[in-house]
């Protein structure tokens, strides 16, 4: 019995170590490489002990101003998309949670089906439309696109969260004199806050990292940071890997911190509705 316990413990440790290695190795590799002197980055065998240097970050700042413009664009677009997606998901989730009709129930299925369509299938036909509307290469269109992509999942998520708030609270508030919007603002939103944060995490991560939509719909004014990083690879003077890794680290840091900070809401969002709370 004791050996079996021991084996189980060893097995668990190995499995967790493997998972950690699997997920942390790329991050560690990028961050460490950004701090290595140029000749050490791809040295064989790899060097784990080296003199850290910030030279690549300095070069990034001096040579790639476009990257920091991209970061600013990414920030604006991510923030806007998050606000729109949260507003849309919360309103829609509330409606889905508190009303029931055959049409509504059927439309939930479509919300999920939308997520199954390959993004490129939706994207290309949109291009001429966006052009005609004169919205090409604007922050606004990117916000709307990213938000739209997440409103479906966000709505389903928010419905699950709001379903857990007893309906009597709505009724008590109605009797207390609240209209629908006031019920939503003063009762539902505060109680569904973990759900809103979970949706926020999904949208932020998606919008911050997204490449395909940005590649098609932006060119200069609204170009996001991932696009600039990809340009570094295609640069005519060859790839400066040090700068590339420095840019990747800068790109990675905020979203990594955000996810670590919001971790528990993310888990809450993924498991919402799994058990009756």
């Amino acid at each position: 019995m004791r050996t079996r316990n021991l084996l189980a413990a060893i097995g668990k440790t190995v499995a967790v170590a493997a998972m950690l290695f699997w997920s942390l190795f790329p991050i560690a590799f990028i961050v460490m490489s950004s701090l290595k002197p140029g000749q050490d980055i791809f040295a064989v065998p790899p060097r784990y002990v080296f003199e850290p240097t910030f030279e690549h970050y300095v070069s990034l700042w001096q040579q790639w101003g476009a990257f920091f413009d991209g970061l600013l664009n990414s920030t604006i677009i991510t923030a806007g998309a998050t606000v729109i997606a949260i507003a849309g998901s919360t309103f829609a989730g509330y409606v889905y949670s508190r009303n029931s009709s055959r049409m509504l129930d059927a439309s939930v299925l479509f919300l999920i089906v939308v997520r199954l369509i390959p993004p490129i299938v939706v994207t290309l036909p949109l291009f001429p439309i966006v052009n005609v509307l004169g919205l090409n290469d604007t922050h606004a269109i990117m916000m709307v696109l990213y938000a739209t992509f997440f409103v479906s999942l966000g709505t389903v998520l928010m419905r699950t969260f709001i379903d857990q708030i007893p309906r009597e609270l709505d009724e008590a508030a109605e009797i207390d004199g609240a209209g629908r919007l006031t019920v939503l603002r003063r009762v539902i939103v505060p109680l569904a806050a973990p759900g809103i944060l979970a949706v926020a995490v999904f949208v932020v991560v998606f919008a911050w990292n997204e490449y395909l939509f940005a590649f098609i719909f932006t060119s200069t004014r609204a170009k996001t940071a991932p696009l600039v990083i990809s340009e570094m690879i295609g640069s005519i003077d060859g790839v400066d890997w040090g700068i590339l890794f420095a840019a990747s680290t800068v790109q990675l840091a905020p979203v990594l911190l955000f996810v670590v900070f919001m971790n528990r809401y993310l888990v809450a969002g993924l498991t919402a509705g799994a058990t009756k709370g």
């Binding site: 609270l169 009724e171 009797i175 207390d176 003063r186």
Partner: protein, 354 residues
């Protein structure tokens, strides 16, 4: 303060009739209890008055104004829910002041009203707590406080005590009775517990299957039930119903008998000789002695005895294999299996169509 009129009030969910034409007049300041078994429509009727359910047909007036289509907030009502429905993210103070802040009552007045309600309900030390930090009884008091603060003309209670344990339920029952006296407001109270109904109500409305079975003062319902349903529902232990045959009719009285019941004459109308009928006698009215020759008598054999100290509940089987109960207001020893005879005052018995 306001009275209510319900005229032919109806509620349909799809093709299901839940409330089938309820007529009811509630006077200003009256304490009315809706009582009935689960699914009888009592909560639905209350929610229709609150404005939480649409009214399918008929008219609802509060304080003389028709309010079928008014929003709940326009009806001048406050409601206490079975689940309390306190806002979990707000403190007791904020829960109670929620409605007042919505209609922009001045801060000083909100504070005065909340503190007054807290004083009445002894909630003062709890004002800064959240609902999760309160016991069930305290939560219910906050829910009542939230209603009081709004100074409504009509209070609605939806089974407010059914989530509390027995001892607390009795305390809160008295508290609600005291509150009614103190505030003098119209109160409508839904319960399936007939003890709550009997002790609190000025007027009880017995509902069954979405239809009003009887409306009246508690004692009136107890002493003069309009039909077998009300007779069986009000009173504990339940009224005995025994099969009898009508052997004679004269004026306003009917003589009945059965193999286990000696011929007895009861005040009743609408029966003809030869009819089958049900004789209703409450267990408390079955006695062993002290009744004269005109009294009815039921014979049977003892099957089960519950000795409660101050009361003995005897379950016995009649000669025609019917089960009946007698509640003797003292401690007494009965031998299971032994023959027993109980007598009853014909004036306390009821006759229902079988």
């Amino acid at each position: 303060m306001a009275g209510l009129q319900l005229e032919k009030l109806e509620k349909r969910f799809g093709s299901v009739d839940v409330i089938k034409g309820v007529d009811l007049e509630i006077k200003d300041g009256e304490f009315v209890v809706f009582v009935g078994p689960s699914g009888c429509g009592k909560s639905t009727l209350l929610r229709m008055i609150a404005g939480l359910e649409d009214i399918t047909g008929g008219t609802l007036s509060i304080g003389g104004a028709r309010c079928n289509d008014m929003e709940p907030r326009e009806r001048g009502i406050a409601m206490v829910f079975q689940s309390y429905a306190l806002y979990p993210h707000l403190t007791v103070y904020q829960n109670m002041s929620f409605g007042l802040t919505l209609n922009k009552t001045p801060k000083t007045e909100i504070d005065a009203r909340v503190r007054e309600a807290a004083r009445i309900l002894k909630l003062e030390p709890l004002l800064a707590r959240r609902p999760s930090q309160l016991s069930g009884g305290q939560r219910q008091r906050v829910a009542i406080g939230r209603a009081i603060v709004r100074q409504p003309s009509v209070f609605l209670f939806d089974e407010p005590l059914s989530n509390l344990d027995a001892a607390l339920r009795m305390d809160m029952r008295m508290e609600i009775a005291r509150l009614h006296k103190e505030l003098g407001a119209t109160m409508i109270y839904v319960t399936h517990d007939q003890v709550e109904a009997m002790t609190l109500a000025d007027k009880i409305v017995v509902l069954e299957g979405g239809v009003v079975q009887q409306i009246g003062a508690p004692i009136e319902l107890y002493k003069k039930p309009a039909n077998k349903f009300v007779a069986g529902f009000i009173g504990s232990p339940r009224m005995n119903f025994l099969d009898v045959r009508v052997t004679g009719v004269a004026g306003g009285s009917v003589t009945v008998e059965s193999p286990s019941i000696a011929p007895v004459t009861i005040d009743a109308r609408g029966f003809a000789t030869g009819d089958r009928a049900l004789l209703g006698v409450r267990p408390q009215y079955l006695k062993r002695e002290g009744l004269d020759g005109a009294a009815g008598a039921v014979r049977g054999s003892v099957s089960l005895v519950e000795r409660l100290g101050a009361e003995t509940v005897v379950s016995f089987e009649t000669a025609s294999s019917e089960r009946a109960l007698a509640a003797i207001p003292q401690d007494e020893v009965f031998e299971p299996g032994s023959p027993v005879e109980f007598r009853f005052d014909p004036g306390a018995a009821h006759l229902f169509a079988a």
